[in-house]
Amino acid sequence: MTECPLTDRMPDVAHGWLTWTAEEAAHLARCPACAAEWDLVMEAQAAARRGPTPRVDLEAVARRVLLRLENSPRESGGRSPRRPASRRARWIPGLAGLAAAAALLLMIRGAPPARIIDPLQVSAAAVLAPFSDLDDLGEVELRELLEVSAGRRLGDDRLSLPLGNGLAELDAAALERLLSSLEG
């Protein structure tokens, strides 16, 4: 295949990233094959530039992309979706309350003494430990996690806790009623 000696540089020159040397410019001026090819490249570049411009709202695209990234799970090595720092803090009281309720329930139900859980030892950190990446979970996922966690720790499939309001927000009487209902 015979090639124009300038072929590989033409697109870069057409886009302004390179310039012809004096020698190349002289060759281009006297070589009809190169001149014809140069015209084609320039035409293609012009056609690409002047082609129909689609309606793309770049500001809206950027805004929506960033919003979706905030709410999507990360892939390997990608940037972590950023969560408000207060999100975990908002759930910690609920988790701590849940842990305390779980321990209390076990004691009320007469679990063997060796297995009694001291509520003070069931800290929020202990509950959170298996889920070190809670920041990546959405609200729905956190709710599901709480429900699974509650069911698993209490070993009771019937358990249905008012997670929407958070155990930490229940007063003593409400908590007592809840525990009584769980006791049957």
Partner: protein, 179 residues
């Protein structure tokens, strides 16, 4: 062309990964319109272009960890967009592949210079559909978009050497046609 300036794609990507959302916005502004044109020229309906551009950026940003830096961000983005376009086309068969002859030129309302512009650009747009697909794609990416062979190879899933061969075949055929 890759470069090390503070506003190069690579630097912007690094800034975004470090938490700077404005870097992502800058990348969208830098590549969004041309990417949209690239998709539209490949048959994506105008009304769907913005959605595909958004999806391409979303996927690209989300999977930055898988981006091998020997390829440019642009070629990686275009490859994602091209794959999205193909997937969407398979799902929505009613899409019409736009014939390059039918693509209107921007600024058609200007009568002065219109004939000259048509004469020059129509040669390319008229001849390109006759080229084999890969030759046409490579020529458009190289001559139209200014990508180098390594970038083109990434976009089209081939090798730089094969891209170079396709380009030279395309040029030779185009030159034969206009001779």
């Amino acid at each position: 062309m890759p470069n090390d300036s503070p506003h190069s794609d690579e630097r912007l990507v690094q800034a975004f990964q470090a938490g700077d959302d404005t870097a992502a916005t800058a990348l969208v502004y830098r590549h969004g319109t041309r990417l949209g044109r690239f998709l539209q020229a490949r048959g994506v309906p105008a009304d769907d272009v913005e959605d595909l551009v958004q999806e391409a950026f979303f996927k690209a940003f989300r999977a930055l960890g898988t981006w091998r830096r020997e390829a440019s961000f642009r070629s990686w983005l275009y490859r994602i967009a091209l794959n999205l376009g193909r997937d969407a086309y398979r799902r929505r068969r009613h899409w019409n592949v736009v014939d390059l002859d039918e693509v209107p030129l921007a600024g058609d309302g200007d009568p002065a210079g219109l004939a000259d512009r048509h004469e020059a650009e129509d040669r390319v747009t008229r001849l390109l559909p006759d080229l084999p697909r890969l030759q046409r794609e490579v020529f458009l990416l190289r001559a139209g978009e200014g990508m180098d062979y390594a970038e083109i190879a990434r976009v089209l899933g081939t090798t730089p050497g094969a891209a170079r061969v396709h380009y030279h075949h395309a040029v030779r055929r185009l030159k034969e046609c206009v001779a």
